[in-house]
């Protein structure tokens, strides 16, 4: 997969990665590149068609710095709006949006809802570590109740978003959740997401060992224990986080709908 990373990127040499040791985002980058590799080989997709866009945050560092693809490291929370712009300029782009939970669900919440509602033809890889990593470990809209963070020193008094439910209700064609402890599933799902027309929202629980002050290997074990494939969930699993593919529709994406308008004036 190294061929997909520039030897010398915007942040200097590709290795070692900028990310903290044990950070789950490095795994997500790896899984994504595996998925992209399959798409390029199996679907004979031209490399030029792929476009990676991100906002701001640890997860958003996966674009730009190393990727040997067209990419955009854009404005905090606005990656989906920028991606929308790219698709309006050229509907042929295959867009992957790298995002974090803070970037997507907090400042980017509005654009998240509407991109899903419009079913823009893109794949969102949302790395959810339940906090703001880059800025020092503050709470995020995905931080669980009672969690201690730098801005919830007495414990979080708020509930967390269920990003997958939001994406599904808003109208995304394809919604799934895995964790960094599920490599094969993540790769398969990202392949499916990129191939899918319309919005593919893929949430990946990703460990932040630095701010959670935990051992990354332990955190991966915890991911396995605290999640359950939703189709197999039993009564005793009710407090576990459901994972798997939640929905898979084929509603027309935004550009497909707009083509009908353009067709009127094409002759």
């Amino acid at each position: 997969m190294l061929k997909y990373l520039k030897e010398e990127g915007l942040m200097g040499p590709r290795l070692p990665l900028l990310l903290c040791p044990g950070c789950g985002h490095g795994q997500v980058l790896n899984y994504t590149l595996h998925a992209v590799d399959r798409i390029i080989k199996e679907d004979k997709m031209a490399k030029e068609k792929l476009l990676f866009i991100s906002g701001v945050g640890c997860s958003s560092r996966l674009t730009s710095h190393y990727l040997n693809f067209d990419s955009g490291w854009t404005i905090h929370g606005r990656a989906l709006a920028v991606a929308t712009g790219a698709l309006l300029a050229n509907p042929e782009f295959r867009v992957v949006v790298f995002s974090g939970d803070g970037d997507m669900a907090s400042i980017g919440g509005n654009h998240f809802i509407h991109a899903c509602r419009r079913n823009m033809d893109l794949t969102i890889v949302c790395m959810n570590n339940g906090l703001y990593g880059m800025t020092g470990g503050q709470q995020a809209p995905t931080s669980p109740r009672d969690m201690i963070t730098t801005t919830t020193p007495y414990g979080n008094p708020e509930e967390a978003f269920d990003l997958c439910k939001m994406a599904e209700v808003a109208g995304a064609n394809f919604v799934a959740r895995w964790t960094t402890a599920h490599p094969h599933q993540v790769v398969k799902t990202i392949v499916k997401g990129i191939r899918k027309k319309g919005t593919a929202f893929i949430e990946i629980l990703s460990q932040c060992p630095v701010h959670r002050k935990a051992n990354p290997a332990d955190m991966l074990e915890t991911f396995k224990k605290m999640t359950v494939p939703w189709a197999k969930a039993k009564e005793e699993d009710k407090d576990k986080i459901p994972i798997g593919e939640f929905c898979d529709h084929d509603k027309p994406d935004w550009n497909a709908s707009y083509e009908k308008i353009l067709d009127q004036y094409k002759s």
Binding site: L10, L67, S71, W73, A83, T84, L88, A89, N110
Partner: protein
């Protein structure tokens, strides 16, 4: 983007009776703009509605975004995706777009934003205003500069919007069209010439200059870097941090920071003589001047002519067609010495500041003539002129 049969839906040469907002959108289409993103706001909604209708007719795409921040962000993505893109908004929306404008400046992204100003601050009102003219230059956070044009007629809403796109592409910068409600809602004649006679400028590309992807510096090669877009095989990485010519953001030093932003500033300010334009009438031999811009110029010239004809006052007329970069050299060439300079604005005196900076050594009396929320009447300007001279 297709350049096919839809092109015939552009305005053919002839006379049209359009609103300024409509003329602005037609000018954009003529300039090759094919992406419009916007959010409804009075008094800019007519521009948006006209765009919604017209863009698909010419093979372009229109989207109503969930807010102005989204709209401005679409422009970034569309421009890097290879298209000319625009939005139209009013003052409160303009405030929301400043972050995107800022990142447009540092990434040197061609994009056009039309601000049909309304009184403020806050929700203010929905009538005439020129209260954003300072925000145009200083509203984006950080250093760097920007180009802002001030149309004064429906014809100019067409012509100057084309010019805005051309400047945007030539200088790889966001360009603002600072309009106001009077000129946006006014209907008057628009003369459209032959397509071949309308000069259109497109961004320079590394492919055209023989620069291979491995040798390409996204922010290098020239004062204005040739721009490779996404999808062209150049693996371009768009970035918003201060950067070196090759896009590297990690080797930060004060020198790298300074070089990056200084380049943005000098690209525009250093070329002000080429970019900035003014219009003058009756300046030769005049001792007093009225300097105005935008819709107010329509009143100003009427007042100047009446003052000269009926009151025998020696009065010159200067109109700023470009607000930023500020046309200091042009002004100093036109006005070598003055007794009084009158500055009518639909604000309490904003462009007054760079005017005084530019001409303070040649004139000692600067008189602002404000009119808030409504276009100046000729009587308002005339009475002040008569009172002072």
């Amino acid at each position: 983007m297709s350049k096919g049969p839809q092109e015939r839906h552009l305005l053919k040469p002839g006379r049209y009776y359009l609103q300024g907002s409509e003329a602005c959108v037609e000018g954009a289409l003529m300039a090759g703009c094919r992406v419009f993103a916007g959010y409804p706001i009075t008094p800019a909604s007519e521009a948006m509605e006209h765009a919604a209708r017209r863009f698909p007719q010419v093979g372009g795409r229109f989207i109503q975004m969930e807010d102005e921040i989204g709209s401005a962000s679409v422009l970034i993505g569309a421009s890097w995706g290879g298209a000319k893109a625009m939005t139209a908004t009013s003052s409160p929306g303009f405030s929301l777009m400043q972050e995107a404008i800022s990142i447009g400046i540092i990434s040197e992204t061609p994009m056009v934003i039309v601000d049909i100003q309304r009184p403020g601050p806050g929700q203010g009102y929905i009538t005439a205003s020129q209260e954003d003219v300072m925000q145009a230059r200083w509203g984006h956070h950080g250093e760097g500069s920007i180009i802002a044009l001030a149309p004064a007629s429906v014809q100019e809403m067409f012509d100057l919007t084309i010019q805005a796109f051309n400047l945007s592409e030539k200088w790889r910068t966001p360009v603002l069209v600072m309009a106001e409600e009077p000129v946006a809602h006014l209907r008057e004649l628009l003369r459209v010439g032959a397509r071949a006679d309308i000069g259109i400028i497109n961004r320079s590309k590394p492919q055209d200059l023989g620069i291979q992807p491995d040798d390409y510096l996204p922010w290098g090669h020239d004062v204005v870097a040739p721009m490779a877009n996404w999808g062209e095989g150049y693996s371009v990485n768009f970035v918003g941090l201060v950067h070196k010519e090759d896009g590297n953001v990690t080797d930060w030093s004060s020198e790298v920071n300074c070089n990056c932003t200084k380049r943005l500033l000098s690209k525009i300010e250093g070329n002000a003589r080429e970019i900035a334009q003014i219009e003058t009438r009756f300046v030769e031999g005049s001792r007093n001047f009225v300097i105005s811009y935008g819709s107010v110029s329509r009143t100003a010239i009427e007042a100047v002519m009446e003052a000269r004809e009926q009151n025998g006052i020696d009065l010159g007329y200067v109109r700023l067609k470009t607000l930023w970069p500020f046309p200091e050299e042009n002004l100093r060439a036109a006005i070598t010495s003055a007794d009084t300079i009158f500055i009518p604005e639909m604000n309490f005196g904003m462009m007054r500041h760079p005017i005084v900076e530019a001409l303070g050594d040649r004139c000692r009396n600067f008189v602002s003539i404000p009119s808030l929320g409504i276009l100046h009447s000729p009587e308002l300007i005339l009475s002040k002129i008569v009172e002072v001279t």
